[in-house]
């Protein structure tokens, strides 16, 4: 392959990885179309994987300038890295998986079963490992789930590639790299061509719906089961049921007329403010509180029962000369006295007029002066100072008020700033005293918050992060997965082109030339390349950028620089090429769930095999079989002990016998009622396929000593 100088990326056909070693930043960069950057995490533990798997640098790939070293990345390296990650992760997979403790020299202790956090903590060094981890983190950010399955699938798929390539090598000679890259290309079209259809037509009919409109008790139970399925992968076994119960109670206690999606968005966005972590109590003491807990103590507390009014301010109530250009000029002692007296009476006047409005609680983002506190105490008013900005904005959102931010409009304090509360009292959680407020239900929902306990800080953190991700997962589940049926003809064309063994262009035909000849294909290529995007987002996530109504599919965290860039790219490309994007269609309905224990994998495995029998194209056949085999790696890991394999085969056989009709499938293992989200599973598979496709198209790793890689990454962030 030709390695071009970074400036001439337009004509570059191969992906290369730039990898900083000596500068300490240790960032890696992928160069392809446009300038894409992504950050990797660090090192594999010594002894697990190093650079050992890389083939020796060949002299002709050495580039000038800052590129000090270039190493070929073969399939062997990819596989070695992926399997190393798999070995680490697989002790923690499934309900019987264990925990990982992570300590820092600062004394911080983190306890986790979350795959992404675990691998991040390892500070992986190998660029391939970091690239995979980056895709994984991006996936976890959207769905909050599936990190460990991601690694298992990744390893299994790469193993599959290895096997296929070996076979082809035997047949067609030493063209392994080529074969791998061809597979990477057909993976992408495979997703659009085969996977999406199978999902909609075959797998989805077997799933059940999470929320039913006519049976609230059933939806409650289902949400509980879904949560249980999630917590089984994230916390210790015995706490799952209890925590799942709390999570589903918390969700339903809001009893709101809000749309469920909107509610989940609210919970996810403000999860920090909705929970209080308490250390020193067993996890079983976690509970739900009505109202909201503000994580500050009262500066002044005057007990008051019953409803009261609250004022939100973001400025000091005492007038001050600070920050203004004015200077106080004093010419006599008397003037100084009267100035002091004026301030005193002004503050008193403010507090008196608040008292007239029945305000009994002042919530302030800034520190108030002693004078204000003193006057408030005299009028039996409670004051909370230095409330966090985020908490207070949530409070305003829930109470429907706006903070008083300008004392100039002081005379205009009215209903806009005054919130009606049902109660306000101190609450002691752990060793802290906080402010606990209740909202009146006139706005159509009753806010609640969570108290999460753990005996040690690490365990409390685990609990908190699991809850945060649980709601993320629930949110993803209750949104539809949309399907974009565009470029149909071309995609088919490509598939067929690949099928017919037309690999001439892969053998080094300059891309620019090729694109010049076929402008319409150029567009398609841009799009398909963008789907290999480093964020690891599923393709519909990117494509949604072009449509305003489906923007909600992409969570804010994920709109990284690449995402935007690609969104624009696609837009430009599409207008240029005059290709119309087909309207989106619902691929998976909101709230679709399947039983845990591998139901999704077994179902898809079954239908992929069937599809491979029906299909006429040999490449599709091979890909179907290959993906189907890889899928089984996930459920296989759920069984452990001496008879694990036999147990798995029995379950598999029984399950396949059951899948004859298009009825919803029952529990995979008897007695396991927990559920998992179809949307999350689908996205997981899509992300892994893209990750594999991208890894397979990496050809060489280039080590650099430039420091520029991080800086650009950060400044591009919106």
């Amino acid at each position: 392959m030709r390695i071009m100088h970074p400036d001439s990326t337009k004509t570059m056909r191969t992906f290369c990885m730039f990898y900083g070693t000596r500068n300490g930043t240790g960032n890696a960069q992928l160069l392809g179309y446009g300038r894409k950057h992504f950050r990797f995490c660090r090192r594999l533990p010594p002894g697990i994987t190093g650079f050992g798997g890389c083939e020796a640098p060949s002299p002709h790939t050495r580039a000038a300038g800052d590129m000090s070293e270039t190493r070929q990345v073969g399939l062997g390296t990819l596989l070695q890295v992926a399997e190393a990650l798999e070995v680490i992760v697989c002790r923690c997979v499934g309900p019987r998986g264990g925990q990982v403790m992570f300590t820092k020299d600062t004394g911080e202790v983190l306890i986790t079963r979350h795959g992404s956090r675990m691998l991040t903590a390892l500070l992986l060094d190998h660029p391939i490992a970091r690239a995979s981890l980056d895709c994984l983190s991006a996936h976890c950010n959207t769905t909050g789930d599936g990190a460990k399955s991601f690694v298992l699938l990744l390893a299994a798929l790469l193993r599959g590639v290895g096997v296929t390539c070996q076979r082809q090598e035997a047949e067609a000679g030493p063209r392994r790299q080529l074969a791998a890259r061809r597979m990477s290309r057909c993976l992408l079209s495979f997703q659009e061509e085969v996977l999406d259809c199978l999902m909609r037509d075959r797998v989805a009919p077997h799933a059940t719906s999470l929320l039913s409109h006519d049976n609230p008790a059933q939806s409650r139970a289902r949400v509980g089961q879904l949560m249980e399925g999630f917590f089984h992968g994230r916390v210790t076994g015995a706490q799952c049921k209890y925590l799942a119960q709390i999570a589903s109670d918390f969700f339903f206690r809001w009893s709101c007329q809000l749309d469920k999606c909107e509610l989940l968005r609210l919970i996810c966005d403000h999860f920090l403010a909705f929970h209080t972590a308490v250390t020193g109590l067993p996890v079983g003491r976690s509970h739900i509180l009505e109202g909201l807990v503000l994580h500050k103590d009262f500066a002044v507390y005057c007990p008051k029962d019953g409803p009261l009014n609250a004022l939100v301010v973001s400025v000091p109530l005492q007038p001050s000369l600070e920050g203004t250009d004015e200077t106080l000029i004093v010419t006599s002692n008397l003037q100084l006295h009267s100035f002091g007296g004026w301030i005193g009476s002004y503050v008193e006047q403010i507090i008196t007029s608040l008292n007239d409005l029945q305000v009994k609680l002042i919530l302030s983002t800034v520190k108030q002066s002693d004078l204000v506190l003193y006057q408030a105490r005299r009028k039996d008013m409670s004051v909370v100072e230095c409330v966090g900005q985020a908490e207070l904005s949530l409070f305003c959102l829930l109470a429907g008020v706006s903070p008083l931010s300008d004392l100039g409009t002081w005379k205009g304090v009215d209903g806009r700033h005054v919130a009606a509360m049902t109660f306000c009292r101190p609450v002691v959680l752990g060793s802290h005293r906080y402010v606990h407020v209740g909202f009146s239900e006139q706005r159509g929902f009753s806010p609640h918050c969570l108290v999460l306990c753990g005996p040690v800080p690490g365990l409390t953190d685990q609990c908190v992060s699991a809850f945060g991700d649980a709601f993320k997962m629930l949110r993803r589940t209750s949104e539809p997965v949309r399907w974009r049926r565009c470029h149909n003809a071309e995609a088919t064309g490509e598939m067929q082109a690949v099928c017919s063994g037309d690999i001439t262009d892969l053998q080094g035909e300059p891309d620019s030339q090729r694109n010049d000849n076929r402008p319409d294909v150029d567009v398609k290529h841009r799009v398909s390349e963008s789907e290999k995007a480093p964020t690891g987002l599923p393709s519909q996530g990117h494509s949604c950028k072009t449509k305003t109504e489906s923007m909600d599919l992409v969570s804010p965290q994920n709109c990284s620089s690449e995402g935007h860039a690609f969104g624009r790219n696609i837009e430009k490309g599409i207008t240029a090429g005059d290709v119309t994007v087909a309207h989106s269609e619902i691929l998976i309905k909101p709230g679709t769930v399947l039983p845990v224990g591998g139901a999704f994998e077994l179902l898809l495995h079954h239908y992929l095999l069937r599809h491979s029998l029906e299909s006429s194209c040999p490449q599709t056949k091979a890909t179907c079989k290959w993906v189907a085999e890889a899928l089984l790696n996930v459920p296989r890991r759920l069984y452990f002990g001496r008879h694990a394999h036999r147990q798995f085969l029995q379950v598999h056989a029984r399950f396949v016998r059951g899948v004859r009709t298009r009825e919803p499938v029952g529990p995979v293992i008897d007695g396991q009622e927990a559920l998992e989200s179809l949307a999350c599973k689908y996205e997981l598979l899509a992300s892994v396929l893209q990750c594999v496709a991208r890894l397979l198209s990496v050809d060489a790793v280039i080590c650099t000593t430039t420091l520029g890689l991080t800086a650009k990454d950060e400044e591009d962030d919106p």
Partner: protein
């Protein structure tokens, strides 16, 4: 940027518990903790090699904060104990020792750690349910008619801290003072006050512990130039003003913005003028005591003293809250405006309390003693620190008892009782003649946990042995502990018993003191195994237990210990960031 250094890779250890080094370290921690446990516990001296203070203690919270633990697993364990004690004040060593023994038992068994953890969790759930039952054999309801139970609870806390260096009589005296302080803080039934008052602990080094006392009201440092007679001569029911702002003569809103002084104005003078005006108002209003959180200007002090006022400055933030509670005064935050009459509070009278060489001004409350001061005296600093911690813990225990008015039998009897109860429940699995309900309960366990019955039995046996080991570690010097086969209490034996004497003549009473030796009681040495039996609750309530433990603290300790042990058992990797 040139200073960027490459990050070190993390150190990853798989399956930390199988490592012999970790087991050795755990065993060491176990030895340290269990040798501190109980009234016969041994003290630990902690000092660093380069000099500095030497700490003598046997309290878990002090000990674990002071030592540096090397392995993350140990740090985790210590963090769990410290977090527990910060909430409950008691049973810290119990948590640590139980957690260590549970881990050692699990390590010894050939059962999968995950299964052991499941079994532990189930059993601790059973213990919790049993302890919550009405007819639980090791729980006593605290009676509020007399202070006997309260005293017993406090005594158990104070006596289990040998580093306090108290004789029996001294311990009794201190316990009495703690209970008095607690009772003084409880509001009388006829007032509207529903909050517990505050008990301020005031440590004094030097005088013997017998001089410790409880006073209603507050003690503050003796103001300068105040003679004892003058203070007492002020009479009763005095008007008090309390300031939270500084009266030292600085501008109240300085730093608020640029201030330009022109002409004849002098800021200091102007402020002092205002202070003196305030002083005049106080004199006119008949205030007899001026208290200030911060500093009072000497001129103002002189002026006020001239008019017969007592000036107490530099109270500090900690004393403000009890001061407000006691006097009803509102802290005034400004001296530029006249003090409103509603801000004044009242003090019942002034006195002088001498304790050793220290003289303190005693502010007596008016009617309702919401605030009291516990003056703790001890001969040296180390023992005083330990005594202070012990008394704080005891007070915390009493306050929690108000929420759940129960106590558990102390002296190891609860542990042996629970272990006998679990043994009995467990064995009901294989003896078919036992009632069907309990049988189904145990067989349900194996099906619920998905483990084999032998695994379940082994792990349950490990759990019982751990509880017994905790009870045994109350005794040092390899003394023998016995357990009776009726109520399953623990019976301590004297050291070095002559051979050939029956146990009935050796033992006097059980660990908690609610049973005394009778000829019809059968014993087995604790930890040697016995036929399972259902431990009977005590029938006669005539003999009262002499040692009681806090119920909420012990229950939480049990749960935290098991949860922490399970967490450690569940660890597959330890990743250490070496950067």
């Amino acid at each position: 940027m040139s200073r960027l250094s490459k990050k070190q890779p993390s150190l990853c250890t798989a399956a930390p518990l199988t490592d012999s080094e970790v087991s050795r370290k755990l065993a060491l921690l176990h030895r340290i903790l269990s040798s501190c446990f109980g009234p016969c516990g041994r003290l630990k001296q902690i000092h660093n090699a380069v000099g500095g203070r030497v700490l003598t203690t046997s309290t878990s919270s002090v000990l674990l904060k002071a030592v540096q633990l090397s392995h993350p697993v140990l740090k985790l364990l210590a963090a769990a104990v410290l977090n527990h004690t910060s909430r409950f004040g008691d049973c810290g060593l119990f948590t640590g020792v139980l957690c260590c023994t549970l881990l050692e038992e699990a390590h010894r068994l050939t059962v999968e750690p995950a299964v052991v953890a499941d079994v532990y969790r189930r059993l601790v759930g059973q213990c919790g349910t049993y302890l919550a039952q009405e007819d639980c054999g090791c729980k006593v309801a605290v009676e509020f008619d007399s202070s006997r139970d309260l005293l017993t609870l406090v005594r158990a806390v104070v006596r289990s801290k040998p580093a306090c260096m108290l004789t029996q009589a001294e311990a009794e005296h201190v316990a009495l003072q703690v209970v008095r302080a607690f009772l003084l803080a409880v509001p009388p039934s006829d007032t509207s006050r529903i909050r517990l008052g505050t008990a301020v602990i005031c440590p004094v080094e030097g005088p013997p512990p017998r001089t410790s006392t409880t006073l209603a009201g507050l003690l503050i440092d003796m103001p300068e130039q105040l003679r004892a007679e003058d203070a007492e001569a002020l009479g009763a029911d005095l008007r008090v003003a309390l300031f939270s702002t500084s009266l030292a003569g600085d501008l109240p809103n300085e730093g608020d913005g640029p201030l330009e002084v022109l002409g004849e104005a002098v800021v200091e003078e102007a402020v002092l003028e205002q202070l003196l005006k305030l002083g005049e108002q106080l004199v006119v209003d008949g205030v007899r005591l001026l208290a200030c959180q911060k500093v009072v200007h000497p001129v103002l002090q002189h002026f006020l003293r001239g008019h017969g006022l007592v000036v107490a400055e530099r109270l500090g933030l900690a004393l403000m809250e009890p001061f407000v509670q006691m006097t009803g005064a509102q802290p005034v935050a400004t001296f530029q405006a006249p003090v409103p009459a509603s801000c004044y509070g009242r003090v019942g009278g002034l006195g002088v309390h001498c304790c050793g060489s220290r003289e303190m001004l005693h502010l007596r409350p008016t009617v309702d003693p919401a605030v009291c001061t516990l003056v703790l005296c001890h001969r040296n600093e180390t023992s005083l620190d330990e005594l202070k911690v012990a008394c704080q813990n005891a007070e915390q225990v009493l306050r929690q008892m108000l929420k759940e008015p129960f106590a558990l039998l102390g002296g190891g009897c609860t542990e042996t009782h629970l272990s006998a109860y679990i043994r009995h429940k467990r064995m009901s699995y294989i003896i078919p003649s036992l009632p069907t309900q309990s049988k189904s309960d145990a067989s349900q366990a194996t099906s619920e946990l998905g483990c084999s019955s032998s695994d379940y039995l082994l792990a349950a046996e490990g759990f019982c042995r751990s509880l017994e080991a905790v009870a045994r570690s109350l005794e040092t010097d390899a003394r023998l502990s016995l357990m009776d086969l009726c109520h399953a209490h623990r019976w301590p034996t004297p050291a070095g018993p002559p051979a050939g004497i029956p146990w009935a003549e050796l033992v006097r009473s059980c660990g908690c003191g609610s049973m005394s030796s009778r000829p019809d009681v059968e014993w087995v040495p604790l930890g040697t195994g016995h036929e399972p039996f259902s431990p009977a609750p005590l029938a006669d309530t005539a003999s009262q237990p002499h040692v009681l433990d806090s119920f909420p603290a012990k229950l939480n300790a049990l749960q935290v210990a098991v949860e922490t042990a399970n967490l450690i058992l569940d660890l597959k990797y330890v990743i250490e960031d070496k950067n």
